[in-house]
Amino acid sequence: MTRKSDIFTPEGYFEDLQKRLCAIPQQEAETKPSNIRRFTPYLAYAASLAVMVMLGTFILRKTAAPAVQEDPYWDYYAYLADGLDPDGYYEYTDAEELSEEDIMNYLLADNISLEQLAYYEEGY
């Protein structure tokens, strides 16, 4: 069995192949990219990344839950807590004077039981 007899090539194939290969230096000289063109793909990737980061930040800001400190009722809860806090940490200077009866009615409406009210009044 001869070693190369099992595969053949078209007539004149290798002459044509050599011509094409010898044209490589000329082709490479003609298609050599400029410095700007060489960096264009990297600039495109960087621009895409910047757009994605900006878009992601915008979406996150729009969909994020507000912080607790932005709750408009925060000061009001502090005002209510003043009635339950014997040390008065949550003094609310702008509050109008309320009677004890008003406060109790309000707390009862808020489902605080009489027993709980009595408990707090005792100062526990």
């Binding site: 069995m1 190369k4 595969i7 010898c22």
Partner: protein, 169 residues
């Protein structure tokens, strides 16, 4: 014409046909061998200015060709995996359907059996059996000792004998 162009054209004249046959045995396709050879010579042209003559020109060019061919096969392996196929099955299909094959049934069996060899043994077998390189030339290309190459070739032959009905050697 520059000095490098003259050297490049000489490399094309001296080695392109031998390298084409070498690549052809790995990729089992006339068209892929053609494409791959152009890639190889593009690399040769790009690397030519940095060739310092530490090795013979023949060894240097052949080493580029072998590395590019093995890279091509590794990429084919990945492409085949993405198609839920195997590169060996694809290569066997190419051998079976090759329009440029006009050998005997035993030669076709031999080509298929070579596919089943491990990469190193396949490389050694192709270089020795089909490319007709000496062990010394193969040693300078692969960086492996002559003794290891002889052992690899012998083992490859034994494996092929066990896979084919008729001894092709």
């Amino acid at each position: 014409m520059s000095e490098n162009e003259k050297i490049f054209n000489q490399i094309v004249r001296d080695y392109s046909e031998r390298l084409w046959w070498h690549v052809r045995r790995f990729v089992n396709s006339h068209e892929d061998a053609d494409d791959l050879l152009q890639e190889i010579f593009l690399k040769v042209w790009a690397a030519l200015p940095s060739f310092r003559g530490e090795s013979q020109l023949f060894t240097w060019v052949w080493r580029i060709a072998t590395n590019e061919t093995l890279n091509y096969l590794r990429k084919e392996k990945v492409r085949a995996a993405l198609r839920f196929s195997s590169v060996d099955a694809e290569m066997e299909r190419r051998i079976q359907a090759d329009p440029y094959f006009n050998g005997t049934a035993v030669e076709k069996e031999l080509a298929k059996a070579v596919l089943k060899l491990p990469e190193k043994q396949r490389q050694v077998f192709i270089m020795r059996w089909w490319d007709d390189l000496s062990y010394e030339e193969m040693a300078s290309i692969t960086g492996t000792s002559v003794g290891s190459l002889k052992a690899s070739y012998h083992i490859a032959q034994e494996k092929i004998r066990s896979m084919i009905s008729v001894d092709p050697f």
